[in-house]
């Protein structure tokens, strides 16, 4: 029984790694650019398709393909921010919600038009690979995702604390006007952060293609859980998102095993509501983050 519980915990942590990776980009965009990006999952979906086609046409391994997909989706994100988001720079945040929601519909339906609704999946040599530790089994592609997520969290920490762009991002997040007065080019910060935020989704999508199949609506299913993770972790908080991702993953795995697989989704929403009642700002968030921004 002990080994079974350890196994369920491993499964929960690995699933949590996926949720965290998907949520980090979303929380970054919210914290700095102050945009609630409903189209976030669609960039993940595009990343998955891109990785799928690279594999299908040229046999490019997804772990190499990430060198192509991440920059490509980063560039797309920069473009989208410049064309669709920037015109609403001074508009109320509600209009931006509608813009990103519309963007999500456009991207999803464009994908439907281009690639139809057929599920696309690839089989790599490691799709089903697992490390065996006695009775325990650890999925290799999921472990890779958890390790990469840890790397990204650490990398973001260094970038935000040590580099000019990181500090500029923090400055813009804390006080847009003051940052401008200090000579920060706010439009560049917004474009690059948005690009980075959706570029991280491409990393997630590419690493997920050995595990999941993709359809045009795949992104939307991730967006919902990503929002839960972001709010639970404290909006705009990268480390909070990481922690919250792991917690949601663990709740899902344990409730699915001990109570019912059918209820595993419902239970983490219940837990989510319960935690927010006790801590409305999220686990690591600070009160008023939605006004104050990234921490």
């Amino acid at each position: 029984m002990t080994s079974l519980i350890v196994q369920v915990a491993i499964n929960g942590l690995l699933l949590g790694g996926i949720y965290a990776l998907v949520a980090i980009g979303l929380t970054l965009i919210f914290g700095v650019v102050r945009v609630v990006n409903f189209a976030q999952g669609e960039f993940l979906m595009l990343g998955m398709y891109l990785a799928f086609w690279l594999f299908a046409f040229w046999g490019v391994d997804p772990y190499l393909a990430v060198l192509v997909t991440a920059p490509a989706i980063f560039a797309l994100g920069v473009l989208v921010q410049r064309v669709f988001i920037r015109p609403f720079f001074n508009a109320p945040s509600n209009s931006l919600i509608l813009v990103t929601f519309g963007l999500s519909i456009i991207l999803q339906n464009s994908a439907l038009l281009a690639w139809k609704s057929d599920p696309r999946a690839i089989e790599t040599s490691y799709s089903n690979a697992a490390l065996r530790l006695g009775e325990l089994s650890v999925s290799v592609p999921r472990l890779v995702i958890l390790v990469v997520t840890l790397g990204i969290v650490a990398g973001l920490y260094v970038v935000l604390q040590r580099t000019y762009w990181g500090m500029a991002m923090s400055a813009v997040a804390q006080d847009r006007k003051a940052a401008v007065l200090m000579g920060v080019n706010i439009h560049w910060v917004y474009m690059l952060t948005f690009g980075l935020g959706v570029g991280l989704e491409a990393v997630a999508g590419t690493l997920l293609i050995p595990v999941y199949s993709v359809t045009p609506s795949t992104g939307a299913t991730f967006t919902i859980v990503a929002f839960v993770v972001v709010v639970l972790g404290g909006m705009g908080n990268v480390f909070g998102a990481f922690l919250a991702g792991l917690i949601i993953g663990l709740i899902e795995a344990f409730s699915g095993f001990f109570i019912s697989p059918q209820l595993q989704g419902a239970l983490y929403y219940a837990m989510f509501v319960a935690i927010l009642v006790a801590r409305p700002q999220g686990l690591l968030g600070v009160v008023g983050a939605q006004e104050m921004g990234f921490r």
């Binding site: 999946a121 199949s213 359809t215 795949t218 699915g256």
Partner: protein, 415 residues
């Protein structure tokens, strides 16, 4: 002036002679209602190929009742469009027969319009039981309903498998799982009924969300129950995830029987590769079905290559060609394309197994029956993935020479 008037009169007469009613007498216009755009466009276009094959074949033989068959297409992208396109086909195009529809949702909606207008609705692909549960007079369905799909899978996964493996049915442990939408619930419910009817042990009856990102908890639960047979009802994505995670956690079963869409497409095989081998699934037959059973298959394969200029890519063309072929036979017997005559001829039809190109017989449930308009004679086929191809394994007569049922399902470690 008089001569000009006469010329005008002659011209008018000539115009009148090419007016639509005169032309309509030379053709039999049939409405074809399918999803030709939108998310089901691929499946809809595959069905259309089967209909076209049947139309061209019949027209080359001189048509029906001495008239050529003409299709008028309607694009049923969703239920709303299915209704408006059915209305257009009937009121604007004046069709008296509609062929369709692949999807149950579309069929359910559009057939209501046809029934109101006393237009024959000839269904060749949609399977929901509810379609023929409404006591309609002009609705006919050739293929068996979804409950038979579930029953075919469940019977094979219990009685046939237990017999083949030499396990007494009372000791045979079956796990039934399904995604938790109405599709998975309805099918799993029927499967569970069969498991209980035949006296096997139901050791697990579980549901999960189709959009789930992780099935490990479900798989660990099942592993603890050590089922002999697993009968899952999934869509494609969750079917793939289930397979991959079963392999990862080493959940070995002796029999794996899918109930339909999750396990009988190339999408499943492409995603899991050789691991598809051994999976059993109920549905349309594969092209390797024994031609002594499906007598129309060899001719159909040649016809399809000639008309659609390709080898068959899915089971839909043959299955739906077969349904249209039956409609032509009914019209011939009715000696009329009038809905009332077609109805009478269809209800009078009583043909044994082997009559249709696919090997099925014909006997439609009469008006007043709980499934009025349903062809009661046929049953679904059972297929098995062998060498990464689907082969028909049930009924035994339909099994091709050299094909054997492979049981038990190979252990993951032996693959």
């Amino acid at each position: 002036m008089t001569s000009r008037f006469a010329t005008l009169l002659v011209l008018l007469c000539q115009l009148a002679s090419v007016s639509p009613p005169a032309e309509a007498a030379d053709v039999i216009k049939i409405g074809v209602l399918l999803p030709l755009s939108g998310p089901l466009a691929y499946e809809g276009s595959e069905v259309l190929k089967g209909f076209e094959d049947a139309r061209v074949e019949q027209n080359e033989k001189g048509g029906l009742l001495g008239r050529q068959i003409e299709f008028v297409k309607g694009d049923a992208v969703d239920a709303k469009a299915a209704v408006s396109e059915a209305e257009r086909l009937i009121s604007v195009e004046g069709v008296k027969i509609i062929l369709g529809t692949f999807s149950s949702v579309l069929s359910f909606a559009a057939s209501t319009v046809a029934e109101k207008n006393n237009v024959v609705y000839w269904e060749t692909g949609a399977v929901a039981d509810t379609i023929t549960a409404r006591g309609y007079q002009y609705l006919f369905r050739n293929e068996p309903p979804a409950s038979k799909l579930a029953r075919a899978a469940a019977r094979f996964g219990t009685v046939t498998a237990a017999e083949t493996l030499g396990i007494p049915i009372k000791q045979f442990k079956v796990a039934v799982i399904g995604e938790d939408s109405s599709y998975g619930k309805a099918v799993s419910e029927t499967v569970k009924t069969v498991v209980e009817e035949v006296g096997a042990q139901l050791v697990a009856y579980e549901f999960y969300e189709a959009a789930t990102k992780d099935m490990s908890s479900l798989i660990l639960r099942l592993k603890a129950k050590q089922p002999d047979a697993l009968i899952p009802t999934t869509y494609v994505n969750d079917g793939i995830l289930l397979h991959r995670q079963m392999k990862q956690f080493g959940l070995n079963v002796k029999v794996f029987v899918g109930t339909g869409v999750g396990h009988n497409t190339d999408k499943f095989k492409d995603a899991v590769g050789k691991d598809a081998n051994g999976v059993i699934v109920s549905g349309w037959p594969s092209p390797t079905i024994n031609p002594d059973y499906a007598k129309g298959l060899p001719a159909f394969l040649a016809l399809h290559k000639r008309v659609s200029k390709e080898d068959i890519k899915s089971p839909h063309p043959f299955g739906n060609y077969n349904g249209a072929w039956l409609l032509w036979r009914v019209i011939e017997r009715a000696k009329s394309a009038d809905p009332a005559a077609i109805r009478t001829a269809a209800l009078a039809m009583d043909e044994p197994e082997g009559f249709q190109p696919i090997g099925w017989g014909v006997k439609f449930a009469a008006a007043g029956a709980p499934n009025a308009g349903q062809n009661t004679r046929p049953d679904w086929f059972v297929e098995q993935w062998q060498g990464e191809k689907l082969h028909t394994i049930w009924p035994p007569k339909a099994m091709a020479k050299g094909i054997k049922v492979v049981l038990p399902f190979p252990q993951w470690s032996e693959r």
